[in-house]
Amino acid sequence: MRTILFLLVFLPLAGALFHILAGRHVSRRVVEIVACSSVAGSFFMALSALLALKQGPLRVIFLRWFEAGDFHAAMDVYYDPLSAVMALMVTFVSALIHVYSVGYMRDDEDYARFFFYLNLFVFCMLVITLADDLVFLFLGWEGVGFCSYALIGFWYRDEANAAAGRKAFLLTRLGDVAFGVALGLVFVLFNRLSISHVTTHATELTAASATVLGLLLLWAAVGKSAQLPLVVWLPDAMAGPTPVSALIHAATMVTAGVYLLMRLFPVVLMSEAALSAIAVVGVLSAFYAACAALAQKDIKRVLAYSTISQLGYMFLAVGAGDVIGSMSFLLSHAFYKALLFLAAGCVIRALHEEHDIFRMGGLRGRLPAVFFLFLAGVLSLGAIPGTGGFINKDRILVAVFSHPHGAFKILWLAAVATSFLTTLYAFRLLFVVFLGRSGQSVEQQEIHPIPAVMTRTLWPLAFLALFAGFMNLPAVWGGEEWLAGFLGGVPGTVPHLHISPGIEWFVAMSDGVVALAAAALAFVLYGPVESTRWRAVFIPAQTVRDFFLSGFYLDRLYQAVLARPYMELARILWLKVDEGALDGCIAASSRTFPLLGSVLRLWTTGRISTYLLGLLVGLTVMLGLLVIRFYAG
């Protein structure tokens, strides 16, 4: 088991090492094989580890990392059902995306660097998933941030891409500050930084420290998962290659934030305030991003905002106390969002790097396979009853609705509204891209052939996107809630929500109706049939659309309030304070001495009379002092 876990974590690292050391000297094929097989190997290890998880949670130390005083950091894993499921998902999606990338990066010269980062990313993500020691987890946490930075800016020759990477790194690191502080707090409170230790001793926390810790963790998660107010980096992150967007900015890394909250849920659970904060942040982000997604023109940006929105649901679930709901939503989101991104990647590739959805249109006939794949993703994202997406979202909404705290009803309403918007933009995307009138540019252009490896890898994802949710089919509908049962052992979780069937039915019905209504509206507005009248009613004015398109001008706000003053102050600090005031003071005081010197040298007049006078004056002063002394003492 130890070996399995070791390989699970470190196989991708080995791949990464291979790429960086030998990648430039071996053929492309070798690099591709090593990259894919290391991740695939990791997937099989995850699978076999899952099968071997019978004996309960397992803590394995690989390496004593560093020690000083009473502090110990180790490279170790804490393998429990939650991390097992997560690891399985991560390795599975990663493996598929690696394979997809082989096709996607076929024409790129810098493939070795690409696969280095990609493999390294998988390693770091697995560390986040499995680590027991929080410092080790932090390694993964920062590591994925770095990989994300490097991969967003992978095509560094365009400065905009590199800038997007920088922005992502920066904003996620703002969150990491809270992680670091949380580390400190945990260390002080528990004297250990082990997740297994912390979760088992969480009940010893006082309410105040639990709240502080919970809020710190929330802030850390907000940074990683691009929630309000640190959302602005994720849409820009779409500058990276599409597989990267799919893997890092949809399926895995961005979920690390919410995963952290799940992993340390017993701590969060100790604080009512922290839970509420998590829920509120989640709902707000979900609603905000759904609005923004409605107005986007760039296919990947729609999906990016959608990711933010869906992550909001996961936060909401954690805030409502339903870790299992959040986890299962996370899983199914990973599948359909990866699917959507990858399919979008196919579209983009086919249309010669075209991103604007209004320049696409009518692709159903020309890319039928991609259309069906995309459709599967949209159905699941739009939570159309009968898909996995619906089942998972339903569980969250039930949990929120039935939360004992009354204010959660408001959150539920907001969530339902968001749900409406979600389905609307999902179908908008589908209709505009695949069913709408074909865009001008697309008409004339040849469709760029898509490598088969790209589309074929998507079928398993499509299957899982549609049906993974059934693993958690509630008992009301005859399900067994298998996943919930499996995750039941995770500390702090509530495997089965014991709710009256009436409420369950009510929530499910309202949700379903909302989704179908939204889909219908989308058909009316963006469907193949022109309907100017409806559009005039429902599509808001240009200013509102711009407002949504720019993500509520949040980006511009931060630029104006934070980034630009910071730059400006840096210059002022440097030129005015450091070189001006500080150094200037010292320079001035050092200049006074030569000045004094040139005054004093006037004393040496060169004339003997002055010199002789010096003798007399000196004598007089000496005698004068002596006389004073004489009579004084």
Binding site: E67, G69, Y156, L170, R173, V177, D578
Partner: protein
């Protein structure tokens, strides 16, 4: 098994080599080879100490001591001592000693013999500082290291070199002369109390001073060390010195000279004046953290790459000061390790900037851009060291920083929180550096080749060490563990009683 005056040999071997080099005034290549040989021999000696001695003693107290009479009339002895902390630092010293010779191999072409003489004598000075346990001897080495640096900056530097060199010396001297007064002061007080005039650190520790006097003495010591460290706000010599110095000078400055400042605080200022130090802890923390913020902030606005790295240096050293001020086993270990880390990372960055300068003859960021395309391997190294500089886990700086910050959190949570925030500021300027220099399209048309074999030989050890310390710092931390425990035990308690 170990010769009686091994430590002296370690200290003075480079100087000896330097004198030999002077004889080859007209033959640059023999100069380089002799210097390289001397420096390697020194490293070999130190490593053999490490390998032999550590097994025997398991990093307890003082591993090797040397004590001979020197100036009897004043009670000054020639006494050297090696413990884990100094061992670690002299390893760094001799390692960088070799590196600077390699770095200057093609960069320095005029007055080669003199240059190597100064490099090697510089090394002697720094080694002496790390090994001296007699206060006078320490002071001698402390001043001694200034002189070669003055010439290295002043002769082989860039345009405003003389100004920078003079500024450097004046700052150093100002601090150290005041320290001299305090140093004599404590010896005199100790002598009048015990009748035994001694400059030995071991004798002087525990001298009971009136709190007023102790505060003054501590302030004087601290000023000298703070200037060298450099601690905000007495740092303004550093950007000039770094910008004007040749690469080797910058490496020595950042890698070694700055370390002597923090080392001396740890070895001398705190143990000698514990209760004054206890009082000064908040001040030090505030200054250290201000340094982190202030320097990191300013670094963002820099146009000159060397200046940028110089300011980053100030920020990193500020964090080390925070660690020293917190004075517990974690933070001290972290600080010592961080000295090594900073020595490696910042030196590597200076070397890289120097290599660019050598190729393009410019240090202005605006002249670069798109380097990655032209020099991928070089850029990879650069990225690695930048990531190390911003404390990416898995690389060396992280270990030191996390130890310092977590350890500080136990004592002074607010300071630790601010320290964590500082890490964002570091990120901002590092990313800007990478972005402006390496990404985008080249702004000027220059044609260069990627790194040469010699350059790879320089960079690979750095890279390996950066990763090794990041992933498995045990060999380093174990060395520090024992001495740090002693320091905490002896000085820590006295600090607390003083603070109360």
């Amino acid at each position: 098994m170990i010769p009686a005056n091994l430590l002296s040999l370690i200290i003075f071997l480079p100087l000896l080599g330097g004198l030999v080099v002077l004889a080859f005034r007209r033959h640059p290549n023999p100069c380089r080879w002799i210097s390289l040989g001397t420096a390697s021999m020194d490293l070999f000696l130190i490593l053999s100490v490490y390998l032999l001695e550590i097994r025997v003693h398991q990093a307890g107290d003082w591993l090797i001591v040397e004590d001979t009479s020197w100036i009897e009339t004043l009670g000054i002895r020639y006494s050297l001592g090696l413990d884990g902390i100094s061992l670690l630092l002299i390893m760094l010293t001799s390692f960088l000693g070799i590196i600077v010779i390699l770095v200057s191999w093609t960069q320095v072409t005029s007055r080669v013999a003199l240059f190597h003489f100064f490099l090697l004598s510089m090394q002697t000075g720094v080694l002496g500082v790390f090994l001296a346990t007699d206060l006078f001897l320490f002071y001698l080495f402390w001043e001694l290291q200034v002189v070669p640096m003055f010439f290295i900056i002043g002769i082989w530097g860039h345009e405003k070199r003389i100004h920078a060199a003079v500024k450097f010396v004046l700052f150093s001297i100002t601090g150290s002369l005041l320290m001299l007064a305090a140093l004599i002061g404590i010896v005199v007080v100790h002598g009048s109390q015990t009748g035994h005039y001694s400059f030995s650190l071991f004798d002087l520790v525990g001298t009971s001073l009136s709190s007023n006097l102790e505060n003054w003495f501590f302030a004087a010591f601290l000023l000298a060390f703070a200037v060298k460290t450099p601690l905000f706000p007495v740092h303004t010599w550093l950007p000039d010195a770094h910008t004007e110095a040749p690469t080797a000078g910058s490496v020595i400055l950042a890698g070694l000279l700055l370390k002597t400042g923090t080392y001396a605080i740890l070895r001398f200022a705190f143990p000698l004046f514990p209760s004054a130090a206890g009082v000064a802890v908040p001040v030090l923390m505030v200054l250290g953290l201000s340094g982190v913020f202030y320097a990191s902030w300013i670094a963002l606005a820099q146009k000159d790459m060397k200046r940028l790295v110089a300011y980053s240096s100030i920020g990193h050293m500020g964090l080390i000061i925070v660690g020293v001020a917190a004075w517990n086993a974690m933070t001290l270990s972290g600080s010592v390790l961080q000295m090594i880390n900073h020595g490696l990372t910042t030196s590597a960055l200076f070397i890289l900037v120097g290599m660019l300068d050598e190729r393009v003859n410019s240090r202005q960021l605006s002249d670069y851009g798109g380097i990655w395309r032209k020099m991928p391997v070089f850029s990879g190294f650069f990225l690695l060291f930048c990531m190390s500089s911003l404390g990416l886990p898995g690389l060396n700086n992280f270990v030191g920083e996390i130890l310092i910050l977590l350890g500080t959190f136990k004592v002074q949570p607010a300071a630790a929180v601010i320290g964590f925030m500082g890490m964002v500021l570091v990120l901002i300027y590092v990313l800007r550096l990478i972005q402006d220099a390496f990404f985008g399209e080249p702004r000027t048309d220059w044609n260069v080749r990627d790194i040469t074999g010699r350059e790879a030989l320089i960079l690979v050890p750095f890279a390996l060490l950066v990763i090794l310390i990041g992933l498995y710092p045990h060999p380093f931390l174990d060395l520090v563990d024992g001495p740090v425990r002693n320091l905490v035990l002896e000085t820590g308690t006295a600090m607390n009683t003083g603070a109360m």
